[in-house]
C-alpha cells in the first residue's frame, strides 16, 4: 500500500480508451476589448456573442472545482475590462485551481497590481502574459493601435512587482525587422528571463487583414534567420509553440528524419498527431459556448449553462473525431497522399486546418513544409 503507487504520467499511459478528464480550461471571460488589433483571431466572436454575468461564471467555476480541474487560462477580449474580474478570480481560487491570464497589458496600473497581490491571487498565478509587438510605438501600434506605452508600462509594473510575467510577440509584416530590437527591449531593458513568439494567423481580423499583416513565405524564412541569430545571442531565452521559430525546429527535424531515418522523439511523425489539446483541455467562449479550443471556436460542443462538461468530454462525437485523427496516416490525408514529406509530417494544428480548409482531418496549409519549400525556392 505505497502512497505513491504510480506517477501521473504512468497513470495517464495506462488510462483506458477514454482519456482522463481534462485538467485545464481556456476561458474567454469577455468579448469586450479596449483595443482593435489587426490580427485578433477572436474579433468575429467578440462582436457576435454576449458576455455571461458574474453568477453564471461563478457557478461554472464551482463545476470545475467539483471536477477537480487544476488550472484555467483567463482571456478575452481583455479580461481587465470586466469590473467583476477579481470576483471571478476569487471564484477560481476558491475552487482550488491555479490560473494564468492573457492580457494586452494596457489597463494594468498600480491598483490592479495591488489587487493581484491580495490573498492567494499571487500564489495561484501560473503566469500573466502581455502582448508586445514592437520595440517602439510606431511599430507596436501598427497592429495594436494606440497601446504601446500603456502595454509597456503594464509589463514593467508586473515585472517590478515580481509577478510571473511573460510576453508573447506576434510576428507580422510590420514588426519582422524590429524583432532584434524587441528582443533587446524585453530581455535587456525590461529584464525578462525569456519571451515567446508566434505569428499572425489568417483567422478573425487577421483573415480580413491577411495581405497587410500576416507573414509571406519569404518573410517567414527571414524570420527564421533572425530568430536563429537571436537564439545564439540569447541562448534558451526565446520560446515558441507556433510560428516561424517552432516551424524552423519542426522542419529541421523533418529534414533530419528523412536524411537519417531517425524520427523525432518529441512528436510522432507520419500521422495527424499534431494536437494534444483534445486529450487534456477544453475551451469556453464568453457566451458560455464549450469548444475544443479557442481556435476551433466554430465547433460548439455545448454550453456551460445547459450541458455537463464531463459528459461532453467523454462522449461528444466531435471530440472523439478530433482524438481519432491521430490514427489517420498522412498518406491518407487529402492533398498529402503523394507528398514526399508525409512520413515525417504530423499535419500541424487542426484548428488552422479547419479554418483554412473546412476540415480538421487535413493538414494545416500554413505550416506545410512542401508548400514552404515551393514558395521560398
Amino acid at each position: 500500500m505505497s502512497a505513491i503507487e504510480k506517477t501521473v504520467s504512468e497513470a495517464a499511459a495506462s488510462a483506458p480508451a477514454a482519456p482522463p478528464l481534462f485538467t485545464s480550461v481556456e476561458i474567454a471571460l469577455t468579448g469586450k476589448c479596449n483595443l482593435h488589433c489587426q490580427y485578433c483571431y477572436y474579433a468575429n466572436e467578440m462582436a457576435a456573442l454576449r458576455d455571461l454575468p458574474t453568477d453564471r461564471w461563478l457557478a461554472f467555476f464551482d463545476e470545475l472545482g467539483r471536477l477537480a480541474v487544476q488550472r484555467v487560462t483567463l482571456t478575452g477580449g481583455e479580461v481587465f475590462t470586466r469590473r467583476d474580474f477579481f470576483d471571478l478570480l476569487d471564484g477560481v481560487i476558491a475552487n482550488r485551481m491555479r490560473y494564468g491570464i492573457l492580457t494586452n497589458g494596457t489597463l494594468i496600473d498600480e491598483k490592479i497590481i495591488a489587487q493581484l497581490d491580495t490573498g492567494k491571487r499571487r500564489l495561484r498565478m501560473d503566469s500573466i502574459q502581455v502582448s508586445i509587438d514592437g520595440s517602439r510605438a510606431e511599430i507596436h501600434d501598427r497592429s495594436r493601435p494606440h497601446s504601446f506605452e500603456r502595454a509597456l508600462r503594464g509589463l514593467r509594473l508586473l515585472k517590478e512587482a515580481g509577478f510571473k510575467v511573460t510576453v508573447r510577440t506576434t510576428l507580422n509584416h510590420h514588426n519582422l525587422h524590429d524583432l532584434e530590437n524587441i528582443a533587446a527591449l524585453l530581455l535587456e531593458d525590461v529584464g525578462l528571463p525569456s519571451f515567446s513568439t508566434n505569428s499572425a494567423m489568417p483567422m478573425g481580423a487577421g483573415c480580413a487583414n491577411q495581405g497587410e499583416i500576416t507573414l509571406t513565405a519569404a518573410e517567414k524564412q527571414e524570420a527564421m534567420h533572425i530568430l536563429g541569430r537571436l537564439q545564439e545571442k540569447y541562448p534558451g531565452r526565446l520560446q515558441a509553440a507556433a510560428g516561424p521559430q517552432a516551424n524552423l525546429k519542426m522542419y529541421a527535424e523533418m529534414e533530419h528524419a528523412r536524411r537519417t531515418g531517425e524520427k523525432a522523439a518529441r512528436w510522432q511523425m507520419g500521422s495527424l498527431t499534431a494536437c494534444g489539446c483534445v486529450f487534456s483541455k477544453l475551451g469556453v467562449l464568453h457566451d458560455g459556448a464549450i469548444v475544443p479550443c479557442h481556435i476551433l471556436h466554430d465547433l460548439t460542443l455545448g454550453n456551460i449553462a445547459a450541458d455537463s462538461l464531463a459528459d461532453i468530454w467523454r462522449a461528444h462525437p466531435t471530440l472523439q473525431a478530433l482524438r481519432a485523427r491521430r490514427a489517420i496516416p498522412m498518406s491518407a490525408v487529402p492533398g498529402c497522399e503523394t507528398c514526399e514529406w508525409n512520413p515525417f509530417c504530423n499535419g500541424s494544428c487542426p484548428g488552422l486546418a479547419y479554418e483554412m480548409t473546412g476540415d480538421f482531418n487535413r493538414a494545416n496549409p500554413d505550416d506545410c513544409y512542401r508548400r514552404f519549400l515551393e514558395q521560398t525556392r
Binding site: 500500500m1 505505497s2 502512497a3 505513491i4 503507487e5 477537480a68 487544476q70 482550488r96 492567494k120 501560473d126
Partner: protein, 102 residues
C-alpha cells in the same frame, strides 16, 4: 522521523482530489505549490478519513476496520509512509494545539 502518537493530521482543504473510478485511486492536486500526487485506492480511503483530524492510530484502526485484505501487521508502517509522502507537499498538515479543527 516517526510521527508522535498524539499528532493529529488533517487534509489540506485547498487540495483537490480527482477520483479515477470505483475501486481505483485518485489524483491529488495542491494548487498552492502546483504539485500533483497519484494515490492508490487504499490511500484514497486514508485521504477521505483525513477530512477530520486523525492520529496515526486512528488511521491504522480505520484501515484495519475497512480493508479486509490489509495485513494488520503491515498497516502501521504503510500508514506512516502515507503520512510521510503527503506531508512535504502540503497535501496534509498537522493540527496545532488549540486549532479550531482540533
Amino acid at each position: 522521523m516517526k510521527p508522535a502518537i498524539s499528532t493529529r493530521y488533517l487534509a489540506n482543504p485547498d487540495v483537490s482530489c480527482r477520483e479515477e473510478g470505483p475501486g481505483e485511486g485518485a489524483i491529488l492536486f495542491n494548487p498552492d505549490i502546483d504539485s500533483v500526487l497519484a494515490i492508490n485506492a487504499t490511500s484514497l480511503q486514508l485521504w477521505r478519513a483525513l477530512a477530520r483530524p486523525s492520529t496515526l492510530d486512528d488511521l491504522v484502526t480505520y484501515i484495519i476496520s475497512n480493508c479486509e485484505d490489509a495485513p494488520p501487521e503491515q498497516v502501521p508502517g504503510d500508514v506512516e509512509s502515507f503520512l510521510h509522502a503527503l506531508l512535504p507537499g502540503g497535501f496534509i498538515g498537522e493540527v496545532l494545539e488549540g486549532d479550531q479543527a482540533a
